[in-house]
């Protein structure tokens, strides 16, 4: 199953719990924006989505360190030159242009495929990013510039110095209901399984005829 070896080039922290890690792009490694690779760790495998741009000389990932997790701590502790075995890129969570308005919904690091879409030139989307605190709004400026609408959904308390786009509170489902009237949409949902489940229930009852693409991280 292992097809490529990735060598760590660089890693930096985006917040206390999330970092971006870059690898040297091996020859022959081609992927579509939104695809992922599986990192092989003994008998286990953990998938991570490339951030793009697809033509870059490096491969970047946005990874949340799951305390006590099996694999993400290994990535968090990796140093330049360390090597990791990965599968070939795969997956169907890719962007398909359509006449319907694209609405992207992410929780946490589920933002990764959307960053890849933007870096591949997709514009005019609506984006709802669910996070606990504004520090989790990674790639905010890049995404806000490219989108038609960019709305954070912040479930935790808002710090006094918050100066970002006007956020929804609570769960992303509430944000979706509040911000998107019934209409013709292509939904792309990425992140927590619970969020995907909640949103599918809302979509099935409120947005008749919508198309839905989902990518569940955990």
């Amino acid at each position: 199953m292992t097809e490529f070896t990735l060598e760590v080039a660089e890693r930096h922290w985006l917040s206390e719990e999330t970092f971006e890690i870059r690898f040297v792009r091996p020859p022959g490694f081609d992927y579509l924006p939104g695809q992922k690779v599986g990192f092989v760790d003994g008998a286990a495998r953990r998938d991570y989505t490339m951030l793009g741009p697809v033509a870059a000389g490096h491969l970047s990932f946005c990874v949340r360190l799951v305390p006590g997790g099996r694999f993400s701590p290994k990535l968090a502790a990796a140093r330049r030159g360390d090597r990791f075995a990965v599968t070939a890129p795969f997956g169907f969570f890719t962007f398909a242009p359509s006449p319907r308005q694209a609405v992207w919904v992410a929780t946490g690091t589920g933002i990764a495929p959307f960053v890849a879409f933007v870096r591949a030139g997709v514009r005019g989307f609506d984006l709802l990013h669910g996070v606990r605190s504004p520090r989790g709004l990674y790639y905010r400026e890049e995404l806000a510039r490219a989108g038609r609408r960019y709305r954070p959904c912040i479930s935790g308390p808002l710090p006094d110095d918050y100066d970002g786009p006007s956020p929804f509170g609570g769960r992303v489902g509430d944000g979706l209901r509040a911000g998107w009237p019934p209409g013709d949409y292509d939904f792309y949902l990425c992140g927590r399984g619970e969020m995907i489940r909640d949103l599918l229930a809302i979509i099935d009852s409120r947005y008749e005829g919508a198309h839905v693409h989902t990518e569940r991280f955990y």
Partner: protein, 190 residues
Amino acid sequence: MKIYTQTGDRGKTGLLSGERVAKDNARIQAYGDVDELNAVIGALAASLGTEDDRLREQLEAIQSDLMHAGAWLAATPESASRAQLHPVTDAHCRALEAAIDHLQNQLPELRSFVLPGGHPRAAWAHLARTVCRRAERWVVHLMQQPQSGGPAADDLGTIIAYINRLSDYFFVLARHLNHQAGTGDRLWRP
């Protein structure tokens, strides 16, 4: 990764191309049957002895073809998702025909109906044949449906041809396995 999605509890499910449809939608029936067929082939492969490596490989190749066919059926014809998929081709059908001829040439001519069964492996092959027939009926039904989002009929002719050959393949394979096991054909004596 958890495999239960809990998203299908309201009777709807999602196609690969993004549409939300009822679970009894013809497209879901069609790829559901292809999935069932694949599972039966898996059971057949699992029942083979170590001496049957070649047959096991052949069955695995068919399982892989059926994965592609299932994904194809799970995406609507005009969707962008189809561009990412591998269609079943005439070459796949030809390969099956060659396999059928190869098995058939080693078997005595048949002058009566056979009863499904015999050796357990042959019984699995007969079950695969019947699931194949059902899958074929659903894919034919699907091909005759107007498509959501446009009037274009879905051209599923090659998949139908493939599944049709596949049921013939499982018929001769069932006979082959019964002959190999010394069971011979179980002829129907009405």
